[in-house]
């Protein structure tokens, strides 16, 4: 039977390195998805992910159990990501790296990646780029709620715990973000 987060946290506090690793592996992929949604650049997302876990395990004693462990972890991650975005907004935006995770040579050479039509893949990449451009038109706070909801499937209540705001604020930001995304995508597509 899989240990609970609480059990792993208790063991991690006592120096159980295996528990640390277990917790990290339990949440790293989920968090990575959220962070990619927030910052887009995969290297930046990984860096923020690493920093998140460093802070989590440094400050494990500060986790009081008022919220769930993963809510606490997400809160740290989102704060780092939002800080990053605020700093990054002052720099030129990063171009969407179409080469990441894709075989550039596969387009048009007949060896369709995973059986998908290469022209569909081009279209998919273009759409993906437009999606991120639309996401980046949102403020960090609006981006946070839409990513937590759409990428990680957190409930409104969980989002409010992570972002430390009221449910009403979550729903208001979500509504605004969805409307704006739809409008932007409609213009682009």
């Amino acid at each position: 039977m899989e240990p609970t987060d609480g059990e792993l946290v208790d063991r991690a506090r006592l120096g159980d390195r295996g528990a640390v690793e277990h917790l990290l592996e339990r949440y790293q992929r989920r968090l990575l998805g959220v962070l990619v949604g927030m910052v887009r650049n995969p290297e930046d997302a990984r860096e923020i992910l690493q920093e998140t876990f460093i802070r989590v395990f440094r400050n494990l004693e500060n986790f009081k159990g008022d919220s769930s462990f993963y809510t606490w972890v997400y809160r740290i991650a989102m704060n780092l990501a939002i800080d990053y975005q605020r700093r990054d907004s002052k720099r030129p935006s990063v171009e969407f790296d179409e080469g990441v995770g894709r075989d550039e040579d596969s387009v048009g050479d007949g060896s369709a990646h995973l059986g998908v039509n290469p022209f569909e893949r081009i279209r998919s990449r273009e759409l993906g780029q437009k999606i991120f451009e639309a996401i980046e038109s949102l403020t960090p706070d609006h981006r946070a709620v839409i990513i937590l909801r759409e990428i990680d499937g957190l409930s409104y209540e969980e989002i409010s715990e992570v972002l430390q705001c009221s449910m009403g604020t979550v729903m208001s930001r979500l509504h605004y973000a969805r409307k704006k995304l739809q409008t932007r995508l409609h213009e682009m597509l």
């Binding site: 991690a12 992929r29 990575l32 998805g33 995969p42 993906g128 990513i147 969805r178």
Partner: protein, 246 residues
Amino acid sequence: MTCSEFDKAFDPYVDGLLDPLSAAAARMHLESCPTCDRMVARWQQSRILLSTAVAEIAAAVDVSGLFTAVGSALDAGCELEDGALTRPSVTRGASHQREFHAERGGVSASVDIAARTARPAARMRRFSAIGRFVAVAGGSAVAAAASIMLLAPGMTLPVQVATETTPSTFSLGSSLRLKPVTFTAPERRDGGVWRPLLPVPALVDALEAGEGRTVSTWVQPRTQTRVIWVQSRNSGPTLQTAGYDK
């Protein structure tokens, strides 16, 4: 349901959070309102595109070394914004030494060794998040044993004050077998003095120091190493090793 009412119910509707009656009313509205229906369809498309775009990028990120990287960062005792990592307390060890050295008129080199063993339980809570428990506990026991042996009655120990960065020496009036511990710890500059951040005791060797020999121990600043040397009267310092003799 009107378009305005549907607009307010849009988010719980697409998230599947409406109660059955409200959901039914929303579906009826969509059947008769192409504008709202188109809005829902666009959102569903956007949602799929967003999830796919993120998943494709995230899937390509290599996280295989993440645990190692996190562990290394924690081991290195990187600076914290809240300064959570602190020096190990020297109070208990130093006071123990002061008691002893009040008798001897000085402070022993073993201050540093004992200091690092002070309150091992507290250090474990602070520093052992990634599994230093065994090393700290084992090293502490050994270092404590060494300290006890050094402080044994009948020994003549002309000593000098030990600090983190200066050598401390003492001469042995009689044969003494002790088991030193070499500590490797990252250090940080704190008020001009290099101080250990995370003592990581590691048993190196047993050490036999015969009569007339001088045992010195000091921390090499910025090299993260505490070294223990044994020096005979007629020769330079050497690091001697021997089996541990209880």
